[in-house]
């Protein structure tokens, strides 16, 4: 996936659920009940950022965390809750009620097989609320459906961009120009993951300031080019490599605690 992860090709494949067979998953469950689910969004990321930013970053991090910990990584759910970005072409959004049902169904599917710890690595702030609501709904269904793991099921939402060390690193690199949407830190990750995106980088005018998020028309009016206080032109691929490293370290520790907690 990246030159900073020399042994990745084989190892990454080893932890991708998509590349496993069902008997291999059965075996896996004999020694580990944890699983990582990457959750992104498909939404505008400013005039130069990739629409797939949040899924690209969540997936890259999930695979790297999986590689380090040996925990299985499911396919990425690339569509999330991005209603407020619908004023910009290319944004594809699930309504909150739909995303709630989706996360619920995925958690219940995994719980059915005996997975007890679901670790969602999320790349988009707009997913946070609905995903947490979905966890509560899933705990409730696990009980009413009488699943054997009902009393042991735990879900955790890990937003890579909110890890303390990532936050700190981003501030150090970009200061106030980090902003809140289409941030240089997330763009840097995408430049590292997908070098072809470098060709889009160009200086941009002063962004509209960050502010509260309401509906799509309000959002577009306040943030005419989609950015919230950010200067994504500052992003460099090498920042991305380093931020990925920082975030993967933080999330791996987080996951390890989650899996071993009583």
């Amino acid at each position: 996936m990246s030159s900073t992860l020399p042994s990745a090709v084989s190892s990454v494949n080893a932890i991708r659920l998509a590349l496993r067979s069902w008997p291999e998953v059965d075996d896996y469950l004999n020694h580990c009940k944890g699983v990582i689910l990457p959750l992104g969004s498909t939404e505008q990321h400013g005039p130069t950022g990739a629409i797939g930013t949040d899924a690209l970053t969540a997936e890259a991090l999930a695979l790297e965390v999986g590689r380090r910990t040996g925990v299985l990584v499911t396919p990425t759910q690339a569509f999330g809750m991005a209603e407020h970005h619908l004023g910009f072409a290319g944004t594809m959004s699930l309504k909150p009620a739909t995303l709630l049902a989706l996360i619920h169904d995925l958690v219940i599917s995994l719980a059915n097989h005996g997975f007890e710890r679901i670790f969602v690595i999320n790349g988009h702030g707009g997913n946070v609320a609905t995903t947490k609501a979905a966890f509560a709904q899933a705990y409730s269904s696990a009980i009413s459906n009488d699943l054997p793991v009902a009393s042991k099921l735990r879900c955790k939402l890990a937003n890579w961009f909110m890890a303390g060390s990532v936050f700190h690193a981003a501030r150090e690199l970009y200061g106030d120009q980090e902003g809140q949407h289409a941030t240089p830190s997330e763009i840097a990750l995408t430049l590292h993951i997908e070098p072809s995106l470098l060709s889009k980088q160009r200086p941009l005018p002063e962004p509209a300031p960050a502010g509260p998020i309401h509906g799509p028309e309000d959002f577009r009016r306040r943030h005419p080019d989609g950015r919230m206080g950010s200067n994504p032109y500052l992003a460099k691929p090498e920042h991305g490599a380093s931020l990925l490293e920082t975030a993967a370290t933080a999330l791996s520790e987080d996951l390890t605690s989650f899996l071993t907690a009583a």
Copy 2:
């Protein structure tokens, strides 16, 4: 409502939507498009706390903020998302999907009349995720229903217990014994609002430590008496009066900014 608010009786009534007639609301809308919606929960609050704590506090704060700002206060939604507390008798919970629909419908009702700024004063952490998801769903419906206010509609969630000054005051009063559920600060508010609750106060053994929240069976196992790291015995009615004052000041400023923001 309380001796600290001498002029409350008449003033509080003046801003209770429940006590207004529809022509009065029509008049109100000519000069103000804002409204306060108190949101609570009906759930266990430890062995000595009132099950209605979150609704009592949200309502008291909403009325006080309304009294100070002149902004209308709707009736309190006393039932929220409390699935994880269902292991304790008396807890009444709405599933996340239900609360999402409820908040959506209330926001859309208000938007129909021309209200443009909905300020939800919330007393329960478990409501946060679902309420935010509901706001996104409501913005979307306002557009697909072609409501005249669609592009101006804004909702804001104000959790009184998370205001900086409240947090600070609670730490000062209770230090680490504030905990995370059935906290002395919220219990103090209820003692101030409803003095009869004082009779329940008694010293309690060391609480189970706060931790992550999963399903109801997991919650009860980890927190056998319902508390999360809190010592509610420290709560005093006079703390409640002071915390109410602090919170009302913070929320009133917050509301004023919200109403006047471009």
Copy 3:
């Protein structure tokens, strides 16, 4: 709550679920499996009536019935199904599908704890249909969720304004001017509960006649000031005190039969 109920303060508090702790509810369930849930609405009540009329009356009655019978009273659900009143400012309505889910979830929450008899004291005709539908849905879920009380669970809807003795008293007081919405009897109750409402009372022109209820635009066209054949100016606080007494007597008998029925 009122001078006609001298011992109310302490007694009323004793039966408010909101003021109980969970161990107290556990104790309660050892000797009684019944509970009262007050259900109101937040909707226009004519040019002089309070928007909160239906919740104010349902709550007052629930507390009085609870006080007399010792049966626990949950917080009031103040928002109900009032779609047809949405043409008047201030009305806040849940769609039928939402109210159905809400009542369902509350009943299932209570049934989870072992409550077997749910007595809903309702203040609004528009809630009747949806609440009954919700009961049927809840019985069904109690079985598919395998709740221990499934085969014993019973819900009952008690509309205070439809009790025979109340109906009779209202006719005696107001004759044909009772009407069907914003009636003098319900307004009288609110004047008794909340004396400040007296200031709104004034003579009104002949009301539009009562008739069938369809959508909000049709309703407003037929009933331009919101009243349906009623003359709320006839309402007096002392009528309210007496009607509350009459209704509480009827509902208390009703509840007693419900709790003791085989």
Copy 4:
């Protein structure tokens, strides 16, 4: 359909929507905006009654009322809300939320074409609540979908067995043995509509008394053979013919008023 309606064959066909082409419906809408929707249920009707009783009777009445008034009759919705009868083999029930959506969709379909008055002839008490809830939801959707007829749309639920003259006739024929479910009056209608059902008639033991309706297990325990206080053995085909006549007269008047009301 029956010997008492000699001219029925051709006339009945003329008002069956199922036998019309779409241009004929277009023509019809030029002079009439009303339509009849028969709603039944498929549920146990005691040890000798037909499971299809409620749909058979609703359909027969709808066709007869259509024949007399010239108002179009849609196909019969034969499945309704019968959750409480699920303890008896053969009962097929829609959950309340499903029936709500179904009636909503049918009303909206008709409103789309310009129908303004939807007259639901219902054969089952268990459908009443949910159908009324569905009407409210449909009025709301008609507005949010911007249907041209939104402000004119009206729905009416006509329960044939609750018409005053029918009630009176049934009491006269059967007195207290009419009961509340699997009543001789509805069984008589089915014997008239479908003479082969006569072969099932036989004397039955004293029925369980009528009472409140809760869940399916409670219902079966209280009413072991499915009857509620009724003696369907009293039913005769000629009663059915006469009751059909009585009910059709009442409903036709009701429909005529509904169509011509301002």
Copy 5:
């Protein structure tokens, strides 16, 4: 029902669930776990075809298949998924999500009683997708509701017009003029079932060609009179009798295999 089925009157009645009592269904379940559910649609069928075509044909076939095999036939669900026909007056459609819930509820009702093989005889292509989706949802609920038959429950969708022999016969009779909607074969069935429909038959201009189906406006634009490449004027009642025979033979074999399959 028709002259080609001389013994039909009594036999058909014997297999109509609507004409059975619950104890008779109990008896039936002792020797057979199969049941037939006819599913139609209420939608335009070209300028001369009956709106009820799909329900009339599904019902006629279901009864004939029931008569031949002795398998119980439930009432017909006359409303299906016909959103694309809503541009033509008289069409009544359930949204896919509603039909999904409906079929789910009916299957679960039957499974509750111990029916293990549900054979849906369908008259409308537009129902296929949603009905199959509903089966999957029902299998899932049967497990989460812990129904005793969960592991044995099987549903099968039988579209009479897609049986090989029917397809062949229709091609032989009508060649390319069979088309895809308002086909002469389905119209022929209705002429046989309901001779009064013959009066509508008349030569029609060249139809719009069949093509893909999208939304209602697109459909009406492409197919201005509702037909898709068909010449229903070719239909004769005697074709209908013969096609009914052919289809009933095919479906009866299909059902027999379904009931006896391991």
Copy 6:
């Protein structure tokens, strides 16, 4: 992506929506209103097949079709309707109602931006029914939401494995051993896309025969190792390359017709 597509790296990136910015999508919409949405599933594919087979193949085909036609390709929806495979570890399934809502929301998002032709390239038979149902629901919402493209919106489901030429090629390669699930043709595609999967290939015993699909328990009983009549050991990477070519040719023609059709 593969050696048969030498110019793929840059070209494929050019048509990935995930790698575009919103202004680029705006530009794109000026000359093309079409878009490709790959839809997979995450489910068991026999003892040696990859759980991600259906998403891997749908994505590879979508990108190749996009590369050839220049039509934008959205991210892959990797989770579909796989309820019947839930008896095998690792399967993650959305309930039909959830997938219906998801596809609906994605189509509506795209239609909001002005996309008129949505081409879903699907890798899983179990998605077919629900996806078609979702299209119908989306057409309906496009109208009720008053989207400008409502009358022009068209969706098409393209199942690569059902293209005539693919079917033919698979039969030629594998004859009867193609089977119906975990087929050598789909496995061959995955071996071509992800060579590391070759290591899983091994001879397998005679598979259980293909048959009808019901619930998960029934499926596992009938198909103990997950295969339906297939011999995936026959699959070779070079077959995959060739099948991908064949399928991409068929789907590209299909897409071209779809985009240019009147």
